[in-house]
């Protein structure tokens, strides 16, 4: 099956239970959410959720978009793609500090990443990237020795205020 990634942006009332209502639509259909980020918007009455799913058929996504819209606290729903939006995430990667640092710094620089914490055993790298960049960064860091990865999940914004 073709790997299909869908990113859904939802503007929702900032109230108890709103997140659970949204997430329930995915879990009830047996779809796993790849990543989910929610935070207040400029107006704290609302929150913005970015939901990423993969391996989800287009017809199912269309139905979920309608169902999301049907939820009472949901104000707006949009499906985002590469053409109409920018998607990024924050990744924190802890790598082994035993090796020589030159290579590590070079990799970090290539990806605009920073080393934000140093200990005798580990370095922690902070990167802001999209899915593709994330995958290459990981491949390059693997030989250095990755100890732990923490990802924020994708956040997306429409290119020209479409939502």
């Amino acid at each position: 099956m073709q790997q299909t990634q869908h990113t859904i942006s939802v503007l929702v009332k900032n109230e108890a239970g709103a997140l659970s209502r949204m997430v329930g639509l995915f879990s009830a259909r047996g779809y796993n959410i790849e990543s989910l980020t929610v935070a207040n918007t400029l107006d704290s009455k609302y929150a913005r959720a970015t939901i990423s799913v993969s391996n989800c058929e287009a017809s199912v996504v269309e139905q979920i978009l309608k169902q999301l819209h049907k939820l009472i606290p949901v104000i707006k729903v949009a499906e985002l793609n590469n053409e109409n939006s920018t998607t990024l995430e924050l990744v924190l990667i802890k790598v082994d500090a035993k090796n020589e640092t030159g290579e590590l710094l070079k990799i970090a620089e290539t990806f605009g990443a920073k080393i934000i914490d140093v200990s005798p055993k580990t370095y922690t790298i902070q990167a802001v990237c999209d899915e593709k960049q994330f995958k290459s960064l990981i491949e390059l860091l693997r030989p250095v020795g990755i100890k732990e990865i923490v990802r924020s999940g994708a956040v997306s914004i429409l290119s020209n205020n479409m939502i």
Partner: protein, 573 residues
């Protein structure tokens, strides 16, 4: 001090009841318990709301739904926390799938105890999230009035449905100012009522150009009271009309254009007409799998015009060529105007061919197969229909063979006369729903047609019927089996009747023990006298018809088969 305006402070319990009264509520079905005692205390002091004490919370919800269906008004139920609330789930899910408006008030433990696994605590907002249209948790008395206003608005608008309000115990004695809001403000909730005019114009054109059009009328037509408009459109444009189970009664069955019910146990000709139509106008239906069979093979040669108030229903199961989101009545009115304004023409000649074809299909009927000494279901139900039709009764059913036999034997020519669980298929629905119907329409004959299996699922409501003298006439089609399941086992599971033979009590004696009337009927000549006695009796009656156990429901489209593969007898495969 002199300038201070003193407004009336009420307790949360009083605010709840005052808010309900503002919404026009005069009837509640419910069951008291620990955390809602204050509400029951407030009820004790009000004359404006009549409370019906049921014997199980599930029945309160079904009764509220029966009431809502007959009254075309939001039903209301009141229960306590924990088990009181979890017992309502089946009822809420039932109303949600069939789209009837209801507000369910559940008690909750005090806000300071929520999440502590307190006595009789259940996360009812979490549990009902996926089976209600919306739900609320209220922890502050100042929110009660607004939430009640919103709940009734949500339940009654768009695709109607149940709204659950979970009310924490601490709000009952909390005093707050009572101001009932005039309007609701729900930014994310704006149902579409008017259909897109361009789409409507295209739909009319397509229907006029069609050679073999057909209509499927669903529960949405009933919900928006659009039978008149649907009937007018069908007659003007010469289009035959099939109904779904939820749409039974939306198109008069004695009409020439009526196809009756389609679907798994629908009429042969209804299923064939839909399978072979070139344009299908579907109104207020979500194309349930019991209606369509495998959706890829459903009306595969047809262009589909789909009108529904719920955008989620459109192109969910059957792809629509012309989707129209809107209220059935408003959209059908606009279609009628469009047709009349444009002098559209219909090709009578092609239509005559189409009707000739349908009339030929109409010869294909299921023939009763079993000959036995016992009473036969169709004979019994046809006699009941003939004997009671002048009363224009309300007929509730449970779920199973008797449900399908009822649809086949009764001519439902008006909407809101059949109360049946379509979406969820809930055994135990009919009896309490009939009870709610009795409350709604006190002078009408109300029957519940049941099986000996289903009636045992809410039989305790006999006590409620006796206590409030709700004269439901319960017709039990007693065959000693969970007949519909047995029928599947007979056909598909090599006659392995696994756990479908079911015993029951002497139903007539049970009725008598509760203080109702019970009559057992075993012979044909006993039927009419029993009906006469039951109808003349001023209270609830159980009529226990001992019928042939091996009878089956045909026509039948086996699960997974396309809808035109209709079997008319057990001899066909």
């Amino acid at each position: 001090m002199a300038n201070e305006v003193i407004t009336e402070q009420l307790t949360g319990a009083q605010i709840l009841l005052e808010s309900l009264i503002k919404e026009g509520v005069d009837t509640i079905f419910g069951y008291p318990g620990g955390v809602i005692l204050s509400v029951y205390d407030a009820l004790y002091h009000t004359k404006d709301i009549k409370h019906y004490l049921v014997r199980h919370e599930q029945a309160a919800i079904h009764a509220a739904e029966g009431y809502a269906r007959v009254m075309d008004k939001c039903g209301v139920a009141l229960v306590t926390s924990g088990p009181g609330a979890t017992n309502t789930i089946t009822g809420i899910a039932n109303a949600y799938l069939d789209g009837y408006p209801m507000v369910v008030l559940t008690g909750q433990v005090g806000a300071n105890l929520i999440g502590n696994d307190a006595f009789q605590e259940a996360d009812i907002v979490g549990i009902t999230r996926s089976c209600s249209k919306h739900n609320y948790l209220v922890k502050d008395a100042n929110d009660i009035a607004r939430v009640i206003k919103e709940a009734f608005y949500i339940a009654n608008t768009g695709k109607k449905g149940p709204v659950v309000i979970d009310l924490a115990k601490n709000i009952w004695d909390q005093k707050a100012e009572f101001i009932y809001p005039e309007t609701v403000s729900l930014e994310g909730y704006n149902p579409t009522y008017k259909g897109n005019l361009k789409q409507i114009s295209k739909a009319i054109q397509l229907l006029c150009d069609s050679k073999r059009p057909a209509i499927v009328s669903g529960g949405g037509v009933l919900s928006s009271n659009a039978s008149k408009e649907l009937t007018e459109l069908a007659r003007l444009l010469d289009i035959p009309v099939a109904t779904t189970l939820m749409g039974v009664g939306t198109y008069p069955l004695d009409d020439e254009m009526a196809l009756g019910m389609l679907g798994m146990h629908g009429n042969y000709w209804a299923n064939y007409a839909i399978a072979e139509c070139d344009v299908l106008l579907a109104v207020g239906t979500r194309f349930n799998d019991r209606v369509t069979g495998p959706s890829s093979k459903f009306a595969s040669g047809a262009k589909v015009i789909h009108i529904d108030i719920d955008p989620c229903s459109i192109s969910k199961n059957v792809a629509a060529n012309i989707p129209i989101v809107g209220d059935a009545k408003i959209v059908l009115q606009a279609m009628l105007e469009e047709f009349k304004a444009r002098n559209h023409e219909i090709n009578k000649e092609t239509k005559d061919k189409w009707f000739a074809k349908i009339n030929k299909w109409k010869q294909q009927r299921a023939i009763p197969e079993i000959q036995s000494e016992k009473l036969h279901a169709h004979m019994v139900l046809e006699k009941i229909y003939e004997y009671t039709k002048d009363y224009e009764p309300i007929v509730a059913t449970e779920v199973g063979q008797h449900q399908m036999w009822t649809i086949q034997s009764f001519n439902f020519n008006q909407p809101r006369k059949l109360l049946t669980s379509g979406g969820l298929g809930t055994m135990g629905f009919g009896f309490p729903a009939a009870m709610g119907a009795c409350v709604a329409d006190k002078n009408r004959l109300v029957m519940n047609i049941a099986g000996d299996g289903s009636i045992q699922m809410n039989i305790q409501e006999l006590a409620t019927c006796v206590e409030y003298n709700l004269p439901v006439k319960v017709i039990i089609m007693n065959n000693g089996y969970l007949g519909m399941v047995r029928q599947w086992q007979e056909k598909i599971y090599n006659q392995h009747y696994s756990q479908t033979q079911i015993s029951g009590p002497d139903f007539a004696k049970v009725a008598e023990a509760y203080g109702a009337k019970g009559i057992r009927i075993e012979k044909e000549e006993e039927i009419i006298p029993a009906l006469k006695e039951a109808i003349e009796f001023p209270g609830p009656v159980f009529l226990d018809f001992i019928i042939e156990p091996m009878e089956t429901v045909y026509p039948w489209v086996l699960a997974g088969k396309p809808m035109h593969e209709v079997l008319l007898s057990s001899k066909e495969d």
